[in-house]
């Protein structure tokens, strides 16, 4: 049961301040720039393709429970639904966690209502799947093959099932877009999906899609926060290097240290 010490309070304070400050200034009307993220631009393409082919889409919010990651996934889902609702394209959302399931239902209904087509919302397309990694995986694979889906979106936490899902999506010929903060799974998505959103782009997704000042401001604030961290790292590297050099008595010892560093392996 650890509590924040002064360093953490200071550090977290700076990050929170930067993010909130940028959000407020963006809301006050400052225009902010955001670079192109191809994977996110492709969402409309994927929805369009499903509409043309008259086949449904699948959106998987990952296999973690109710968390920040899955809430971000729902935020992206909202945008995908809005885009789909325009063309009345059908989207199926298999959810693994029961708490997340109820929230997904709610947010899907909201998204359809926001687009003015509340009747397009079908509660049965938000599906609760068994709370088990591979039972979920086989459920989703079955769905892909039965419905012959046109597009699949993976946004959320994925683990070993990432590759299984994406390879099967590929087999049915779906266009696939993925994004996950689970770094170890990114290579698998890159190898099998058409577009992959890498690392922290995941948290930029909703800002990019909606272009809302609040989210854009938050994104810029995040980048300032990262700059602060980078500054601390650089300072640390300088300090450590100075310290290391100052404790070397001779070139010979420096060589010993150097050789040891390579023998560590």
């Amino acid at each position: 049961m650890q509590h924040a010490d002064l360093t953490i309070i200071l550090f977290e304070g700076i990050l929170v301040f930067l993010i909130l400050y940028k959000i407020l200034s963006a809301r006050a009307g400052r225009r902010l720039f955001i670079r192109r993220i191809p994977g996110l631009s492709a969402i409309d393409e994927a929805v369009g393709r499903a509409t043309e082919m008259g086949k449904p889409m699948i959106f998987s919010p990952g296999i973690s429970g109710f968390s920040i990651v899955s809430l971000q996934a729902l935020s992206i889902l909202g945008h995908v639904i809005k885009s789909a609702a325009k063309y009345r394209a059908r989207i199926i959302v298999p959810v693994l966690d029961s708490i997340l399931y109820t929230i997904t239902q709610e947010s899907a209904r909201d998204a359809y209502e926001a687009e003015g087509v509340p009747d397009a919302y079908n509660p049965e397309d938000i599906r609760f799947m068994p709370d088990n990694q591979f039972a979920y995986t086989s459920g989703v694979i079955g769905m892909m093959h039965r419905e012959q889906v046109a597009s699949v979106f993976y946004f959320g936490d994925f683990f070993a099932e990432a590759l299984i899902l994406a390879e099967n999506g590929r087999t049915v010929g779906a266009i696939q877009i993925a994004g996950t903060p689970q770094i170890t799974q990114i290579p698998f998505f890159i190898a099998t999906c058409d577009y992959t959103i890498i690392g922290d782009e995941y948290y930029a997704a909703s800002a990019y899609l909606s272009r809302e000042p609040t989210l854009l401001g938050s994104l810029v604030g995040q980048d300032y926060g990262k700059a602060v961290i980078l500054g601390i790292i650089v300072l640390g590297i300088i300090a450590a290097s100075v310290l290391a050099v100052s404790t070397w008595p001779s070139m010979e010892h420096a060589l010993v240290v150097f050789r040891e560093a390579f023998q560590k392996g």
Binding site: I68, L71, T102, A135, D200
Partner: protein, 435 residues
């Protein structure tokens, strides 16, 4: 629990037993249902406000719990212990070169180093002593608090005529007891570190050979470890004791949503069968498995010990769970191997210079991990040991890989912080908290 007195509202939370307990439980469930019913009746517009308000209030708990310093603050001692640990490490590091027989240092360099190391030791001893004094000071306070908490708890159970069975070990007394034992531990560790450091300092003045100095440096490292251990002490504030309760509340809410999930599952599969939709036999399989596992699970759990029901239940449960589910999952995971090979074969094409670089790195890492690759370069002479594939693999994983992972981890961490902040303050205008 002190200060609430005997008000009517408070008497609801006094532990109960027998008929009172049953009535209490039924009453709670009814109130819960009524509350849920009311919530669904609330118009959309107000519901949003309700969600925003509830999110904001709930967020405060964990935030305050984290940021409010502990009542018996050990953070000063903690930072002193960590500083002492750093000084000790520094001292050991300064002595390190003297322990290499090959390093031919001049007498002045040598004495300079020993002087620096001694100075660091002195600072560390000072820090350790100060920290120890400051935590020892907390002891009487804590003992008094423990007594008060125990007295209060006893008075409370006497007043409400609680039996022993109804009393959970009191959260606040538990935490205070923990503090007392921790402070004792820390104090002991600090004492050990001080003794080690002082001994090292004394022997340093007479030490001469590299071996002796090496041994002293090693002792100082041990003292540094003890100083680090002394720093590990918990602290709690007035909210810490309620963390368990809040956890229970959230798991109860989770339980309700599970029911909703299962209803959805059942209704979808029922309709699939009724309408003979594509894949309807699978839905029958679902019902069979669903019912079987519930029935046999219940038989196993609630059957009379040694009875036939229990034996039958656990036999079938074993077949379904270990024979069925576990094997299906294992084969599902095993499929990953096949997919990895086919995906790597398909995707790994040298389309650019970067792709070529990545392929070389991938080959080196793969070879460096598997016995065959390690065997390939194992014949190299010792002077070329840095060309061993496992060493190269280690370098790639520990330097470029770790750097990249760290970069992404920072980005993801800050992103999660921003997302959390937006949700807590209801600034997130995605679909979840709509306009």
């Amino acid at each position: 629990m002190i200060g609430l007195g005997n008000s009517l509202a408070f008497s609801l939370f006094v532990p109960k037993q027998g008929v009172a307990l049953a009535a209490y439980m039924i009453g709670s469930i009814l109130i819960g249902i009524a509350f849920l019913f009311m919530l669904t009746r609330v118009p959309q517009k107000y519901r949003k406000i309700l969600i925003i308000g509830a999110t904001f209030v709930a967020g405060w708990f964990y935030m305050l719990e984290f940021f409010i310093p502990g009542t018996h603050d050990t953070s000063l001692a903690r930072s002193r212990f960590i500083a002492a640990q750093r000084h000790l490490q520094q001292s050991a590091q300064t002595l390190q070169p003297l322990a290499y027989p090959k390093n031919e240092l001049s007498a002045s360099q040598k004495s300079g180093r020993i002087a620096t190391a001694t100075r660091e030791l002195d600072t560390a001893i000072k820090d350790l002593t100060e920290a120890r004094v400051s935590i020892d000071k907390l002891k009487p306070d804590l003992n008094r608090d423990l007594k008060t908490a125990n007295d209060n708890a006893n008075a409370f159970s006497k007043e409400h005529r609680l039996t022993d069975k109804m009393i959970e070990p009191n959260a606040s007394t538990k935490i205070i007891q923990q503090h007392i034992s921790e402070i004792g531990d820390s104090s002991g560790q600090a004492e050990g570190a001080i003794a080690e450091a002082t001994a090292a300092k004394n022997s340093l003045s007479t030490a001469d050979s590299p071996e002796e100095i090496g041994a002293i440096a090693a002792n100082i490292s041990v003292a540094a470890e003890s100083a680090g251990l002394a720093a590990g002490a918990a602290s709690s504030n007035f909210l810490t004791g309620y963390k368990d309760t809040i956890g229970t509340v959230s798991s109860v809410i989770g339980g309700f949503t599970l029911l909703l999930g299962i209803i959805n599952l059942l209704s979808i599969h029922f309709k699939t069968i009724a309408k003979h939709k594509l894949g309807w036999p699978s839905s029958i399989a679902f019902f069979v498995a669903f019912i079987a596992i519930i029935v046999f699970g219940m038989m196993q759990t609630y059957g009379r010990a040694g009875g036939n029901t229990k034996a039958l239940g656990s036999a079938w449960y074993d077949v379904l769970f270990n024979g069925g589910l576990a094997q299906l999952q294992a084969s599902m995971f095993a499929m990953v191997a096949f997919y990895i090979v086919s995906a790597a074969y398909r995707a790994f094409r040298i389309r650019s210079a970067e792709a070529a670089l990545m392929m070389i790195a991938a080959f080196l890492v793969m070879l460096g991990f598997v016995p065959f690759g390690i065997w390939l370069t194992s014949g190299l002479p010792a002077s070329l040991s840095f060309l061993h594939l496992d060493i190269i693999r280690g370098w790639i994983m520990e330097i470029p890989n770790a750097a990249a992972q760290r970069g992404m981890a920072f980005g993801i961490g800050v992103g999660a912080l921003a997302m959390g902040l937006r949700i807590w303050l209801s600034l997130e205008r995605g679909a979840y908290f709509d306009k």
